[in-house]
Assembly symmetry: C2
Homo-oligomer: 432 residues x 2
């Protein structure tokens, strides 16, 4: 008999079927017992007599089972059906008790305990929904960009020099010489604008963050975009707005069940997302909150939260751009504002008051790079290859990067980025 | 005026248009001159009078240009159209001469010279076609698996221990303690079978290959699959056969232009791919080629070549599976053949005589892992998290990994894997 999945049970009412999966729960009531089997599609309930339980003696939840039975309507059961005349066969017995239960509505563990046992903890239906949603976000990102003619690239993660700042880079022993883990595909995606004009990458990036916060990881998945022949950073923001809209449309279609289980209210994104110029944002925060950050070179988390609230109240938008960050605080390749070089053609996108994406227009003239590289004291030999593409003609270009886990965290209102990652890495955590 | 792309020129015959791109070639014939502009979609020809060339004085190919003109039919030009009444404007001037020409039918450089200047070398139309094909292979892989209900995962690349063998692993300084770059997502994809049953990943893997060959890199893109509730390795091979077929169908549809330019003859994959049992393969090589490798624990490249030729002659197939590799030569997690534990439930897939994918059934019982881990002398503390998933119930499962660059290399008949990579990493190469 061919195995069917739990989600297809109701298509087989009155028929004999075979299911395989994990023992999610067993309610022993004596003569009548209810077994919940979990497979990749969901849960199936089977009704067992006392003697049918014999194969499960001394076994625990998560035992891998095959169950055969006849599908019958049963309104209170999952999907309104259950199995009768059941035969249970053990595929893989489990004798040990789980570190925490997987069959409660919520994950019954604190974050550190959960992370220690995430290899099994991810089997919880809510965890599966979150991870499926993350896959949906990445898929929506790629589909939106493929449809717009962007080409996917796979840039190297072992690199000769830091791309962002030398401070938070991991060093590798590369056949006896020092090398580094890429902090971003920044140099490569720019280089590839010279090849394809429009490129994207979905891949890991590595940041040796020397501090522990609820919204940083040492390794995360970056959704990177870079595009040529732009007017300025507003062209890039238009693209990002379209990408965010594309992701949300994709998951609302493909992850409807997950969004429902997790009680996610999808944010609305219109044709445009409101934006505010950096100095104006500081002025606004001062007026609204009395926090005087005017003249400071960057926004602190509390400033971003205030701007998020303002955007929601003022525009009914969960998203808001801040544009024109001070040039001094942005990477050396950032294009200054031609009208006021103190500020730059850059932006952050805040999602419910937290930085979701960062981007901007880049320098594109070779001479500008030579000057910027000298000013930033970049090691000439290691960035020579990067600079070569500018020697041979680069158009005005820019791009952005979205943190995948950040997107999921903000979408679900998780309090810690680690709840949105598969197996997070931080200052103290290297396993599982 | 809105920019149009070179590929859309013929839709605008008789109209004024604007193009932007790179100066691909300029044939100066005196009064009449032919300029080829390259953008992400292809080439466009513009006819210029002597005086129209003024903006290009002292400039070289790869100068970034905007050209406006009227589209006219011209059968000998690319796409049968060209621009007349042309006005050229320089966006980014290029004064230096390229390290090698990009406007010859083939890349006019040896591999080392090309790799030194790959940041601009990839702009060659053939290089672009190869990289687009690689993107198409990855996209076809994901689409095929998404359609079959597989979930994409993003496993960490910084890990606490080697997964395959301790010999070729890169060490990192992880906040003062040693860590490693993942040689494969093997442990994680197995763990995630316990969560989703069917998972895949597209991501970088890292191998500190201490030797230099034409078909190994220190970093490459691995297309990984793992699935649960299998019968044995033949279930996994069926999946792989479907994935290879899905990839080929996808690129034949989406990369038709690239396949034509690169003169690729797509291999045929039927419903099934022929397979040969490891000891029979050795016997066959002995009979056909007189090479006596009988009893050796692995196949050498010349053996794989011979098997590739055999499969092509005998079955008209560019693909052939070799099954049942000796258990001793496969990783500790490999499931032995229950009928003869000397051999294993494993396979390689050869594509035109070169290993394209490797896979098999894995152990799934906790007790088997404890025994195997001890035999393989795995450090208990670092693989404890991996082993935990087996403690709590894993179904019979297996999977495979395809090397993305290998696939492209074999598809195009490239003589060196480095021609199929974006920015390859090897013993001596760390840039660009």
């Amino acid at each position: 008999m061919t195995r069917i999945s739990a989600s297809k049970l109701k298509e087989h009412i009155g028929k004999q079927v075979k299911l395989q999966g994990w023992l999610h729960n067993l309610r022993r009531l004596g003569q009548v017992n209810f077994l919940l089997l979990r497979d990749r599609t969901g849960l199936a309930q089977a009704v067992l007599g006392k003697e049918d339980l014999a194969p499960l003696e001394n076994l625990q939840t998560e035992t891998v089972l095959e169950i055969c039975g006849v599908v019958a309507e049963a309104p209170p059961a999952p999907s309104g059906v259950e199995l009768h005349d059941v035969k249970v066969e053990v595929i893989t017995p489990v004798a040990e008790i789980l570190p925490f239960e997987l069959n409660k509505p919520d994950v019954a563990a604190t974050l550190p305990v959960f992370l220690d046992h995430a290899t099994v903890g991810h089997r919880h239906p809510r965890r599966r929904a979150i991870l499926r949603l993350a896959a949906g976000v990445a898929d929506g990102f790629r589909r939106t960009l493929n449809a717009a003619g962007f080409i996917e690239i796979f840039s190297p993660k072992i690199v000769a020099s830091a791309t962002e700042s030398g401070a938070n880079v991991f060093q590798i022993d590369y056949f006896g010489q020092p090398a580094y883990l890429a902090q971003s595909p920044q140099f490569y995606k720019q280089i590839m604008v010279g090849v394809f004009e429009k490129v994207y990458e979905v891949g890991p990036v590595f940041r040796a963050e020397p501090h522990s916060t609820t919204r940083h990881l040492s390794e995360y998945v970056s959704l990177d975009v870079e595009m040529g022949f732009i007017e300025d950073h507003f062209t890039v923001m238009d693209c990002l707005t379209g990408v965010v809209g594309g992701i949300l449309a994709h998951i609302s279609e493909r992850c409807a069940g997950e969004l429902e289980m997790l009680e996610v209210k999808l944010p609305l994104v219109g044709e445009t997302i409101p934006w505010v110029y950096f100095p104006d944002a500081q002025q606004l925060i001062y007026k609204r909150e009395g926090i005087d950050a005017r003249g400071e070179p960057d926004l602190a988390p509390e400033h971003e939260r205030a701007l998020g609230e303002w955007a929601r109240e003022e525009f009914g938008s969960d998203f808001v751009y801040v544009t024109g960050y001070p040039t001094a605080k942005r990477p050396f390749y950032t294009h200054p504002d031609p009208d006021d070089p103190t500020y730059s053609n850059s932006f952050d996108l805040l999602f419910r008051g937290v930085e979701l994406a960062t981007g901007g227009q880049r320098l594109h003239l070779y001479a500008d790079y030579l000057a910027a590289a000298e000013k930033a004291r970049l090691p000439q030999e290691t960035c020579a290859a990067y600079l070569e593409c500018f020697k041979y003609g680069m158009p005005p270009h820019g791009g952005f990067a979205i943190g995948l886990e950040r997107f999921v965290m903000q979408l679900l209102g998780l309090e810690n980025l680690r709840w949105a990652a598969l197996f997070p890495r931080d200052l103290t955590r290297l396993t599982p």
